[in-house]
């Protein structure tokens, strides 16, 4: 099951998305992988403040310098991102592209971290699919106080609507998180019939988020 989820998610990354094409999305994945050992990212991570380190990541064949640098920042040190930084990036590339970058990073990170956690080799990056992105901003999104526009529908918790500005990418993400964790209506049960109990799963989840210094 998990292997098929990874394969489907990898193909989703390779496909044209909301505002980025397959080549750009695969390049994001490539840069996510680079961020784990990249010297500039390592230096930023170790610094008291990432802003104290000079330097930016250069443009790649498919990503501008601002886009590439934002990939490295989000992938390598998400717990210390600031609104001021995000606003400066969004001013350059727009909130739609920024949000899609975030979504692709999440997908790529999840696939790779699953393999690392299992002690498996990382999958080869798939070939990007041809085609153009949708280039469509969905209805019903607006300022709800986050850094990017999101669904104004209040029935959803904030984490559930965080990528609502980019519905194609959001759909792919929801498939992954449902398969890896929430499993539909089973999420509402306090007792799960899985190899790990619900408390055990939540313990792993909590530890993962704390080590990543994620407040939410």
């Amino acid at each position: 099951m998990h292997s098929s989820i990874c394969q489907a998610s990898a193909q989703a990354i390779a496909a044209p998305g909301d505002w980025l094409d397959g080549q750009q999305r695969i390049d994001i994945w490539r840069q996510v992988r680079d961020s784990s050992t990249n010297p500039l990212d390592t230096e930023r991570r170790l610094a008291l403040s990432p802003a104290a380190i000079e330097g930016t990541h250069p443009a790649t064949e498919h990503l501008s310098s601002v886009m590439n640098d934002s990939v490295h920042r989000i992938a390598s040190d998400p717990g210390r991102l600031t609104r001021a930084w995000a606003d400066s990036v969004i001013a350059e590339i727009g909130e739609e592209i920024y949000t899609e970058i975030v979504g692709v990073i999440a997908l790529a990170t999840s696939i790779d971290w699953f393999h690392r956690s299992m002690g498996l080799d990382l999958v080869e990056l798939p070939d990007p699919a041809s085609g153009s992105p949708a280039l469509r901003r969905p209805d019903g999104v607006g300022d709800i106080g986050a850094w990017v526009s999101q669904s104004v529908e209040k029935a959803r918790a904030n984490v559930s609507r965080a990528l609502s500005l980019v519905p194609i990418t959001n759909d792919s993400w929801r498939v992954l998180v449902d398969g890896f964790y929430s499993r539909g209506d089973e999420f509402f049960d306090l007792s799960w019939d899985r190899p790990l109990s619900r408390p055990q799963v939540e313990l792993v989840a909590a530890r993962t988020t704390v080590l990543n210094e994620c407040f939410y």
């Binding site: 990528l163 407040f215 939410y216």
Partner: protein, 108 residues
């Protein structure tokens, strides 16, 4: 909790201490089996993605979570995380209905 120590140790190895990974992976498999390891790996993977979404989009804590985590956050130091600035920790919040929405709406 059964295998709690082994689970925590495994997460630490994956996220922070790769040189200890082989030993801790084996210990976890000894306790929860390969299926349990797979479940743990999937959870680590999902939440490694989730934290990047939460932190990069600047979402605030939902009302119900704010209310119920107030004391825990203060005691554990979570309010010192950079991401805490995305939430108005001092504001009054609704309870009851907001809590239900927050829990049920998290991943659906």
């Amino acid at each position: 909790m059964d295998s709690g120590k082994a689970l925590l140790s495994f997460v630490d190895a994956v996220v922070r201490k790769p040189d200890t990974y082989t030993e801790r992976r084996q210990k976890l498999v000894d306790e929860v089996g390969l299926a349990g390891l797979t479940e743990a790996a999937a959870t680590i993977a999902a939440f490694s993605g989730l934290v990047r979404i939460a932190d990069a989009t600047g979402i605030a804590l939902d009302d119900g979570t704010l209310e119920f985590s107030d004391e825990m956050r203060a005691k554990s130091g979570l309010n010192d995380f950079v991401g805490a600035t995305n939430s108005d920790l001092d504001r009054a919040y609704e309870s009851g209905g907001a809590t239900e929405i927050s829990v049920k709406g998290l991943f659906t």
